[in-house]
């Protein structure tokens, strides 16, 4: 009885709203029957975005977007609010999943040549969505509003300042004024919570509309190139012959993968929790070591490794060129073979990109170009003596911050060469010249060290030998 009433009510609502009539054909649109597990990354990205929306809305109930109070509100969310720690973790790992899934989706679409006719705009809206995801990732890191966030804003403003002609305005817009202050956080909050998500919703809608209009690209086959004159007719014929309704024939894989991903994100949030907040957002605390979240760490490495003098050009034209190349890709290769087997350069391109970003990420994680301000001191065992010029030189090696940039038997920074066995490579005169004159990445100590101090340092370095 009650089931009948419920069913009647559901039918009445459906009739008045027209849900089945509107959404039904969309859900049951035909897709190629062999579109299988390779095709789950797009819906997984959407799923990760929904996790971000849900967890973000929940966090907004307690987060205070004020420069003075955001840090303490985050402390409350993390340590006191029920489920607060879990929700922050969910939001953090959800963001990571979104970046990862959008990368995988893009890689799959590129390798399958699905950006070609007639799906050029699918690709282009996807590139814009990638940009929105990265903007949300970066602005989200700033909303953590600890010391790292404050200095990341300054770094962003400095990069914006390099834009020709309007750089100063963009930098001021980023800071919300001339310095980091009360206006800074609230702008990033508005961008992160309203502007970019609204754009993301709009472009996801457009992206999905384009998927419905042009259909899900069939898996590519070698020897079946895209010909704009015949492609649409061939695609229709393929669907007529062997197409399957998206729901549920194809959608079940998306659901299984998304639920698995949600489980993994939740597990990570429980086991590892959100990133711990750093020091308070006080710009007068100078001992800071700002680093971006993992998905932008590779770019942080790029900025450190660029040849001196090229940063200004790269900071502006690097991202611009990369974005432009991605956007115009469908027009560079609008037709022809889609199969990666016939497009080896596509495979090489993806492998190179992954290797490049992976290697930069690894080196960015270590940041060997940064001085090690907390290097462990050299022990008497390492120095080999407790008196005399060698000992005095070792003391100077630490006092003058040489150890911040040079390794001696595993202790010190990695900015400069490892000096553990420097005496096997350099003569005394070379050492003196390098200490006195410095180099591209080393200060010249000639004006600050006394002759006797240089002698001691050289004596210490000459004792660094295998023999």
């Amino acid at each position: 009885m009650s089931r009948t009433i419920l069913k009647k009510a559901a039918c009445w609502i459906d009739d008045r709203l027209g849900l089945s009539a509107t959404l039904g054909p969309m859900l049951r649109h035909l897709v190629p029957q062999d579109a299988r597990w390779w095709y789950v990354f797009g819906s997984a990205t959407l799923c990760a975005f929904m996790i971000q929306v849900v967890s973000g809305v929940a966090l907004a109930f307690a987060y205070t977007p004020s420069a003075a109070d955001a840090y303490s509100s985050l402390q409350f969310i993390t340590h006191d609010a029920p489920f607060g720690n879990f929700l922050r973790g969910l939001h953090y790992f959800g963001a990571s999943a979104m970046v990862l899934m959008v990368g995988l989706h893009m890689g799959q679409v590129f390798l399958f040549g699905s950006y070609k006719f007639p799906r050029e705009l699918n690709w282009m809206t996807g590139v814009l969505l990638l940009g929105f995801v990265l903007i949300m990732g970066f602005t989200g890191q700033l909303l953590r509003w600890d010391q790292n966030a404050v200095w990341s804003v300054v770094v962003a403003a400095e990069q914006a300042g390099r834009i020709p002609l309007i750089g100063g305005w963009v930098a001021r817009f980023t800071l919300g004024g001339e310095t980091v202050g009360g206006a800074t956080l609230s702008r990033f909050f508005a961008i992160h919570v309203f502007i970019v998500p609204a754009l993301t919703f709009a472009f996801i809608g457009l992206h999905l509309l384009l998927v419905l209009r042009h259909g899900v690209a069939e898996p590519p086959k070698a020897g079946e190139p895209v010909d704009p004159k015949t492609y649409r007719a061939n695609y229709q014929a393929l669907l007529k012959k062997s197409g399957r309704p998206f729901w549920p024939d194809a959608a079940w894989r998306d659901v299984v993968f998304c639920v698995g991903m949600i489980g993994a994100i939740a597990l990570l949030a429980v086991v590892f929790g959100p990133p711990e907040l750093g020091k308070p957002p006080d710009p007068s605390i100078i001992a800071a070591d700002p680093r971006p979240d993992w998905y932008l760490l590779w770019y942080f490495a790029v900025l450190a490794l660029l040849p001196h003098g090229t940063e200004k050009i790269f900071m502006v034209f690097g991202p611009l060129t990369a974005g432009l190349l991605l956007i115009i890709l469908p027009f560079l290769a609008p037709s022809g073979e889609r199969s990666p087997l016939r497009r080896p350069w596509a495979i090489v391109g993806v492998l190179l990109t992954v290797t490049f970003i992976g290697a930069l990420w690894a080196v960015g994680k270590k940041s060997p170009w940064s001085p090690d301000f907390s290097a462990e001191p050299l022990t008497s065992q390492i120095v080999g003596t407790t008196s005399g010029p060698v000992f005095a030189g070792a003391q100077l090696f630490q006092e003058k911050s040489c150890i911040d940039c040079h390794l001696i038997q595993g202790r010190g920074g990695r900015r400069g060469p490892d000096l553990t066995f420097v005496a096997d490579k350099l003569r005394q005169s070379d050492m003196i010249i390098r200490i006195a004159n410095g180099g591209v990445n080393m200060p010249a100590y000639g004006a600050t060290l006394k002759p006797a101090e240089i002698e001691y340092l050289v004596a210490f370095l000459e004792s660094r030998t295998k023999h």
């Binding site: 969309m26 897709v31 004020s66 003075a68 109070d69 007639p118 404050v150 200095w151 300054v154 770094v155 403003a157 400095e158 914006a160 300042g161 390099r162 750089g167 100063g168 305005w169 930098a171 817009f173 919300g176 001339e178 310095t179 202050g181 009360g182 206006a183 209009r213 042009h214 649409r232 695609y235 229709q236 308070p280 957002p281 006080d282 710009p283 007068s284 605390i285 100078i286 001992a287 070591d289 700002p290 450190a304 001196h308 003098g309 940063e311 200004k312 050009i313 170009w369 940064s370 001085p371 301000f373 911050s401 940039c405 900015r415 410095g438 591209v440 990445n441 200060p443 010249a444 600050t448």
Partner: protein, 178 residues
Amino acid sequence: MNESNPEPSQSCRESKRGEITRRIFLGRVSLALAGVGAAIVTLPMIGFILAPLYRKEPEVWRTVGSVGDFKVGETSSVEFLDSSPLPWAGMTAKTAAWLRRTGDRDFIAFAINCSHLGCPVRWQSSAGLFMCPCHGGVYYADGSVAAGPPPAPLARYPVRVWGGEVQIQTQPIKIQRS
């Protein structure tokens, strides 16, 4: 629903003859009016969002200590408030500088921001160097570039001695331009 439209869109194939019918006229007037309505709402919004671009902050002198607090030849960090912090700025209204006393009444105040990307440089007193934790920029005690990627010396704040007190004039964060 058809998954893939095999034909180019209709509007692309229709040719415009240039005649304005009542329907076209009403359509265009509606669009124009909608544009006016949207402008009434969005222009103030854009002005509000872009306001910081045009707001000139006053430059004010902030006392950072007495002359006697600083030894000749030494460099130490000092902190002070921005020129006109917003009431809800909290601790972000603070900023810092490296103050070097070079004579009886002579001081140099360096910005803490590395000229490369703005990270806070640290003074290594025993080495007589400023070092940046981000990308390894190094500066000598006078703020000139010693090593690494910084394209320019450390920026300086105007500094004066006023009635026995050392004062620094607030400045915008120095943004390097291309």
